[in-house]
């Protein structure tokens, strides 16, 4: 089913939680709403679910306007962060509740419950109560409850936030695979950019109620449209510095301070001809190399297993970069850094919009 949001807004009193959001979701697509806490992503989700009434704008399911349609008539399934299982009912009863409300015959309840329980591996839990289940099991039951209706749209509100890290990773894969197999259009709200990046076909980045960008994960990562996106996406976060641009020797250079200048490749030239800009470069695009242009002193090394995250100071600026642990960099060591300027990003310091990508 296709979903379309047109000029969607929501106000609570004087506070605007969602501000003029426009986006479209294709049939079978897995879309993530990504943003920090309180940015309006859950509010948007709840408007799509029919729990909140939009203050302005419209929501369309397959072209039909559904603003006034009751949640139960929208043919949706929803998985909550808190699972929201009915504590006084068994797993089986939780799952088939929606079917009971539709007055389906008993055999159908049994059959459907078995089908979905098998899909999610919870067949042996059917007679238990939610209170007797672990977090991961409750999550599966919540998912089962949403899926049993064979909905046209699946809504997820940070479903994995309450699970421990290991479980989160495995559940992520399962949800993604399930969604792929079933082909149900899905909207997944999260504040975890790794989750969004690994699961979604497209990510809608939301900040302060406004849509910052709505692109594929790769696009957002390699070609961030705003400073916020650049810093929010990618782990460890991108280094950002304020730099001066200088024309010299037929090319454009950035002045990093301390007399160091880096050449900017032609394809990375910021437009608009500003003198002072914000430059961004990811930790993985900086390397310690003997022929590097920049001298730095290591202030801290965080071993992350596969890489070391090295913090250092360059002329007063803090820089992080990832390096091979085999180099055994230590605090106080002097290193020379080389920047892969082919991966550099530039942003307008006032508007915080990218000076490279539209």
């Amino acid at each position: 089913m296709k979903v379309e949001l047109a000029n969607l807004s929501k106000k609570f009193g004087n506070v605007t939680a969602v501000d003029d959001v426009n986006l479209d979701i294709r049939d079978g697509e897995f879309v993530a709403f990504l943003g920090p806490s309180g940015c309006g992503k859950t509010t948007t989700l709840l408007m799509i679910a029919g729990i909140y009434r939009p203050s302005a704008g419209d929501i369309f399911f397959d072209g039909a306007r559904v603003n006034e349609l009751q949640p139960k008539d929208r043919d949706i399934g929803m998985v909550f962060q808190s699972y929201a299982l009915y504590p006084h009912m068994s797993v089986f009863q939780n799952m088939v509740f929606s079917l009971i409300l539709k007055k389906r015959p008993k055999q159908e309840l049994q059959r459907e419950a078995q089908r979905v329980a098998k899909m999610l591996g919870i067949v042996e839990l059917l007679e238990r109560r939610p209170g007797q289940l672990s977090g991961g099991q409750q999550q599966r039951v919540a998912l089962a409850r949403a899926l049993i209706k064979q909905p046209r749209l699946l809504l997820f509100d940070e479903p994995l936030s309450n699970l421990d890290a290991r479980l989160r990773v495995s559940m992520r894969g399962e949800i993604k695979k399930l969604q792929g197999d079933l082909g149900i259009t899905s909207i997944y709200v999260t504040h975890d950019q790794i989750e969004a990046m690994t699961m979604a076909d497209r990510i809608a980045v939301i900040k302060d109620g406004r849509l910052q960008a709505y692109l594929q994960p790769e696009e957002l990562h390699d070609r961030p449209r705003t400073l916020f996106i650049a810093q929010f996406i990618g782990n460890p976060p991108m280094n950002i510095f304020t730099v001066e641009l200088k024309s010299a020797e037929g090319g454009l250079w950035t002045e990093l301070g301390g007399g160091v200048a880096l050449a900017i490749p032609a394809e990375r030239r910021p437009r608009d001809g500003k003198k002072t800009v914000k430059m961004g470069i990811r930790p993985q695009d900086i390397h310690a190399s003997a022929s590097g242009d920049i001298g730095a002193e290591v202030s801290l090394v965080e071993p992350m297993g596969r890489d070391d995250l090295v913090f250092c100071k360059v002329g007063g600026m803090d820089i992080q970069f990832l390096e091979d642990p085999a180099l055994k960099l230590k605090r106080g060591a002097s290193v020379r850094l080389s920047f892969d300027m082919g991966k550099s990003q530039f942003f307008d310091p006032q508007t915080e919009r990218s000076l490279l990508w539209e």
């Binding site: 986006l23 029919g50 039909a64 603003n67 349609l69 009751q70």
Partner: protein, 320 residues
């Protein structure tokens, strides 16, 4: 990123509109029973009280033979020499019982929070007993305490051994007993509220003050009592209103005799249990009306002041 579709009407939109209206009226049906009861037993009675107070209705005139008096009843009240007596009885009753309630509530909560927790709970449970005891049974206990020989407990255990004259103490010290009877019930209100306030003082502060060298009494004075300012105000104002209008225990204990007839009881007697059977509805209503107006006024002011409206949270599900 902008898709501007022209607005398409949802199929069967009139059905949807109807469903919306039906769904959004559910709250009405939920509220109906209580709204009905509130109208019949609160709002209507307030109106009736005010209206009848302007008539000369009694059992003699019945429901058809009465006439409008305007402010007649009220003027009668002002002119009645007994009015001052009842006003005085009411004032005495409210002031002294309030004092007892608040002080005792404070004392009990202080004592029971300065002993092992289970003992504290036990004694607070004992002090709650008067409140949950059926009024008649509770007063029966007091009657026996005050009764004359050979049954009376006070006389048997204290007065006689001390060689003093024994008698039924209720007629003798009716006002004292009225205060005690109501006070023992009323004290538990303050007790619960003050105890909860005391228990919410962080343990660290309680301990560190002793470490700093305060005695238990000093801690009470400098640490605990300041925390009780708001609860004290709350209990005092709340119980003032409830004392002004309460009369059940007095009715059972003395029926207003021996100078214990408070205003509310006077109203009740006038209209509903007049000795010669000619119930003075109009008069009783006028007396009650005065209390009703005071009651409504105080309730509104009291609510505004204590900002109970802050306990209202917005629902997190919209009506579509």
């Amino acid at each position: 990123m902008h898709a501007s579709n022209s607005q398409k009407a949802a199929p069967g939109s009139s059905v949807e509109a109807l469903a919306r209206r039906k769904g959004s009226l559910a709250w009405f049906w939920f509220l109906l029973p209580s709204a009905f009861l509130a109208i019949v037993f609160f709002f209507l009675p307030v109106l009736i009280t005010l209206v009848i107070s302007l008539t000369n209705m009694t059992t003699a005139t019945g429901l058809s033979g009465w006439t409008w008096l305007g402010t007649g009843n009220y003027r009668k009240i002002l002119a009645n020499p007994d009015t001052v007596k009842y006003l005085w009885a009411t004032t005495r009753y409210v002031v002294f019982t309030l004092l007892f309630n608040v002080v005792m509530g404070l004392v009990i909560s202080l004592i029971t929070t300065h002993m092992p927790q289970r003992s504290g709970l036990l004694f607070r449970a004992i002090w709650l007993l008067p409140r949950i005891t059926p009024p008649v049974v509770y007063i029966l206990m007091w009657k026996i305490i005050a009764a004359n020989l050979p049954y009376g407990i006070l006389n048997q255990l204290i007065v006689k051994p001390l060689g003093l004259a024994t008698m039924n103490w209720i007629p003798e010290a009716a006002f004292l007993f009225v205060v005690l009877v109501n006070g023992l019930v009323g004290a538990s209100f303050g007790m619960i509220i003050f105890t909860s306030a005391i228990e919410s003082i962080p343990k660290d502060i309680m301990i560190s003050s002793l470490v700093d060298g305060a005695s238990v009494l000093q801690r009470i004075r400098y640490i605990i009592l300041p925390q009780l300012r708001w609860p004290l105000l709350f209990v005092t104002t709340y119980q003032t209103l409830s004392l002004l209008t309460s009369y059940e225990y007095i009715l059972i204990l003395t029926d207003g005799n021996f100078n214990t007839e408070v205003w509310a009881l006077w109203a009740f007697h006038q209209a509903l249990s007049n000795y010669w059977g000619n119930f003075q509805y109009g008069m009783g209503a006028a007396l009650a009306a005065i209390l009703v107006v005071i009651g409504v006024g105080m309730a509104v002011v009291y609510l505004r002041y204590f900002r109970f409206g802050e306990l209202v949270q917005e629902p997190k599900i919209d009506q579509l």
